[in-house]
Amino acid sequence: MKHKKKFNHLSRTSAHRKAMLANMACSLIMHKRIKTTVAKAKALRMYVEPLINKSKNDSTHSRRMVFRYLQNKEAVTELFRDISEKVANRPGGYTRILKLGNRQGDAAEMCLIELVDYNENMLSAKSGEGEKKRTRRSRRGKKSSKSQAAEQVAETSAENTSAVEDAEVVEDSSSNVQDSNSAPADNDDVKKEE
């Protein structure tokens, strides 16, 4: 039964899987970007990110711990010398997976997995994203205030159907938004009309 066997075994024995991930991790560290299938990339992400985390603390012990996983001293040197510097200010999330589409032959979904800090183009994109989020937040705030006013009007209209027409007029004319904000007053007016 497959209970609690949550991680992807990639159709390999444990030793085969570890060896493959070690090789892939070395390739990623040396080349900064490798092309592979999405399933392997996701497995690799779980494998290398803790190693990159360890590289932030440059000690003999952490180097040996990383070497246990990589089994490649060139890769360990590269990781502790160059990558750890680049990555120093990033609190996790060191890799990015870019999906490319399906491979011919077996239609496996392919992707690029890369170290985030080594892709200059996408780094500039990140700063732009932050601004976008801010603008969206403000727009949302405006909408909610409008919709609240609309809701308040709607509540009054729900009580008696004759007020529906009035409410629609208020919603349509943007100049009357301030009027709709004073919903309790509207409510009184409606009752007087009744």
């Binding site: 870019l98 999906k99 589409g101 690029l112 183009n121 996408m122 500039s124 994109a125």
Partner: protein, 61 residues
């Protein structure tokens, strides 16, 4: 071992297969070059992803 008592009739077989359907892939438009792309994937034409250059042409090959 248990065995089927009856051959599955054409109707039963076909009724079962009414749920075998192909799904339409989610498609979008590349914000850089306007080509049709599959969502959440790098544009095959220009290598852009979410409006930013993700990969140069040579690397994609």
């Amino acid at each position: 071992m248990a065995h089927p008592k009856r051959k599955t009739s054409k109707t039963r077989r076909d009724k079962r297969r009414t749920h075998y359907k192909a799904t339409v892939p989610a498609l979008g438009v590349c914000s850089n070059c306007g080509a049709t792309i599959r969502l959440h994937r790098v544009c095959q034409e220009c290598g852009h992803y979410r409006g930013k250059l993700a990969i140069e042409k040579e690397v994609t090959v």
